[in-house]
Assembly symmetry: C2
Homo-oligomer: 261 residues x 2
């Protein structure tokens, strides 16, 4: 690369999250960095966008000389504002999102603001990587993974990721054995709601639950993480279940008046 | 079917939206219906869930004898509460979401609360259908599509949808020519932000934009809708870009110390 690549850094845990700072540490030696992150935690926001309210942007000096902005919206809003307002005349070469405090492996990608932000950038044709560490705590230790993540970033800048444009990278919390390229494992959340009564005597329900792996495969992100490997899943935004198209073709025979009861 | 199927009805436009009422009209002759919908409009919420706040449920008498509940959370929260609190002892046979006021074709599926609610039910193994009419107005006319949607619901109850478990159904606003089973078209939003100054002199940005079809295919949902057909895309939650897995295998050669600069 002749000049330094322009790298957008965002997350869903908010502008002050230690995981965001770790990611800025990793990419700032590699490129010109612009940080646009939510002004408050936005975990679990998925691909939400803000339609019915205005958004605010404030430049903040939290990373020294690196340009950084806090935004009142969701992670996806941050990416839209970065590309269409803050840097509308310079195309980004890469978007990195995270490092999330907590797993976004398997089905978690669907709920994740971190990965949705990266996906939003990928929709605009920018290669994007979402990073997540399997440690929910504020004091999670991001040091051991930094050399790996630095190399993943450099690989993507140099080689691209073919048609995927979106990598979902999860990092085990303990020792790191290496890196595995995987498919998204089949898993689900077994939900429970904690029921309670508020100070005014009204019932409430609070989401809780546990993650359940339903996939015996050894080529999944869940398996790789369980065995101490960083998992990388090339991902995409096409949700079509292509092999089912022919199976449900009989639906095309529905005609008005055929059976309207 | 020996006994009436149990059908969950939800949406993202809120419990009072005319599109929800139209969907209740369609499915109430077919099954036992339970409505669980947001207490306020939740468009563009994607797959957001509520983690950091409690949720409220109120039974409301807005559909006569049909059991209906308004919920303080997102569309996905509504489905989780329906399955884990309101009907935790009876499995649903089908979930229908909508009818959304506005398109959820192509990339809109990613942002859509309507489709995310249906996807959430599909993750629990329940066949699900998201319905959307290409008319954003509150006074949209849902009558012409009702006979078609009734037959689509009956087809899915009788035949299932194989491994997809999630159909994205969009309906043109004018005359309906028939039904096409499609793939998700490649499209994107070209974003602009309306910039303004609020009464206190602070800048704000408000999301706007226009939909741009980038897909010349005649097998897409966009093409079908443009030609007056109801589009049905069998969809899924596996975001893996499977064909890229082998291409990025060199990433597995990253080793600690190999290049940590």
């Amino acid at each position: 690369m002749k000049e330094k690549p322009l790298i957008l850094v965002t997350n869903d845990d908010g502008i002050l999250a230690p995981g965001l700072r770790a990611l800025v540490d990793i990419v700032s030696p590699i490129g010109d960095v612009v940080v646009v992150a939510p002004d408050s935690p936005q975990s679990g926001k998925g691909h939400a966008i803000t339609i019915n309210e205005p958004l605010r942007i404030n430049e903040v000096k939290v990373f020294g000389e690196i340009r950084a902005f806090e935004c009142s919206g969701t992670p996806v809003d941050c990416v839209k504002l970065a590309m269409n307002v803050i840097e509308k005349d310079r195309p980004f070469d890469l978007c990195v999102s995270g490092i999330n405090h907590g797993s976004n492996a398997a089905i978690n990608i669907i709920y994740s603001g971190t990965l949705s932000a990266a996906m939003e950038a990928s929709l605009e044709g920018v290669n994007s990587i979402g990073f997540s560490l399997l440690d929910y705590s504020f004091s999670a230790d991001f040091e051991p993974c930094k050399p790996y993540l630095s190399q993943i970033v450099k690989y993507v800048l140099q080689n691209g990721v073919d048609q995927s444009r979106l990598l979902n990278v999860n990092i085990p919390a303990g020792d790191i054995e290496g890196v595995k390229v995987c498919r998204q494992g089949e898993a689900k959340w077994v939900e429970e709601f904690q029921q309670g009564t508020d100070p005014r005597g009204e019932s409430y329900y609070w989401l809780t639950g546990r993650f359940e792996n339903m996939d015996p495969g050894q080529d999944t992100d869940i398996y790789a993480l369980d065995h101490g490997y960083i998992s990388i899943v090339p991902s995409m935004h096409d949700l079509t279940h292509h092999s089912v198209i022919d199976i449900i073709k009989p639906l095309e025979q529905i005609k008005l008046g055929y059976d309207t009861k």
